[in-house]
């Protein structure tokens, strides 16, 4: 339909030479925009993939560094970790107040990492690129719980549990979780 339309538009343009009226200019403009959009949709994923290959490491390294800085800052402030997986405080102390604390994060591997993972799954073995993403997500969610506890004035968090689940799966087309999106959830009981 579009092709036929473009043919007639082009034919009329060619036959008339340089005497264009405003209608035809409008048609030409619309046509070129449509072609440009089409090209963009084809070219964009390609460039995105190249970008992912070259710069994803840099971006993820930046997040990792920020996380490490925050972790060491909290450690300096408190002297010890305020998250515990025990359901009772280690030191004998009086508890005045308690509440459930919840923190979460959703992470996904980059396109390049997904690609590497796909290749890796042919031969089997350790997928290093996914390891990094998972490790980052898990430590980030625990750091968030720590910061939430400090921010709201809780001394310690007891019985901390970390859960992992796949979310936002795409069931259609038989491709499960095409993007590899994972959610990490950390929760515990804050006491003071």
């Amino acid at each position: 339909m579009l092709l036929n339309y473009s043919h007639t538009a082009l034919a009329s343009l060619l036959s008339k030479g340089d005497s264009l009226n405003s209608d035809e200019i409008g048609e030409l403009l619309g046509l070129s925009v449509a072609i440009l959009l089409g090209v963009l949709f084809i070219v964009f994923p390609f460039f995105a993939f190249i970008y992912s290959m070259l710069f994803a490491r840099f971006h993820q390294g930046k997040y990792q560094k920020q996380l490490l800085a925050r972790e060491s800052f909290v450690m300096e402030q408190l002297g010890e970790d305020n998250l515990h997986t025990l359901s009772n405080p280690i030191t004998d102390r009086k508890i005045n107040e308690s509440r459930l604390l919840v923190a979460n994060i959703t992470v996904g591997p980059s396109w390049w990492q997904l690609f590497l993972g796909g290749i890796r799954s042919i031969f089997g073995g350790n997928i290093v690129s996914f390891d990094k993403v998972l490790a980052y997500g898990r430590s980030e969610v625990m750091q968030r719980l720590r910061e939430q506890a400090i921010g709201e004035g809780w001394d310690e968090v007891l019985n901390v549990r970390v859960e992992t689940s796949m979310v936002m799966n795409k069931v259609q087309g038989g491709k499960m979780n095409k993007r590899g999106t994972l959610e990490f959830l950390a929760y515990g009981t804050g006491i003071r």
Binding site: I105, G108, N169, R179, G188
Partner: protein
């Protein structure tokens, strides 16, 4: 309504257990947010749109659990657990459950 994920509420005594209370919600993603998350996915890392969406949904599930508890006459929920599952394409079910109890101070 007091909640904890340990067996007791510190500083209180449980006088009566009222059984399992639960709350759940199913959330589908927003198409605009999905496109943004798809762009963020190119470089990987956190997908903030999904994080917020899921946290919002989980808060709602917790709220429904507390509503269930208060309907049964409980004034606290102990041993709260969370479960997440994918039920349909692009939707997630968030489920919170615990034991509704009546507590008294001391």
């Amino acid at each position: 309504m007091m909640t904890s994920n340990i067996e007791t509420i510190p500083g209180f005594t449980i006088t009566k257990s009222l059984g399992v209370v639960s709350g759940s919600t199913v959330r589908a993603k927003h198409i605009g947010k999905d496109i943004l998350a798809g762009l963020k996915n190119i470089i990987g890392g956190e997908l903030k749109a999904y994080t917020e969406l899921l946290m919002e949904a989980r808060t709602e599930a917790l709220g429904r659990m507390m509503m269930d508890a208060s309907q049964r006459g409980a004034n606290a929920v102990v041993n709260v657990r969370f479960a997440t599952s994918s039920v349909a394409g692009g939707a997630a079910e968030l489920f919170a459950y615990g034991t509704g109890v009546i507590i008294v101070e001391g």
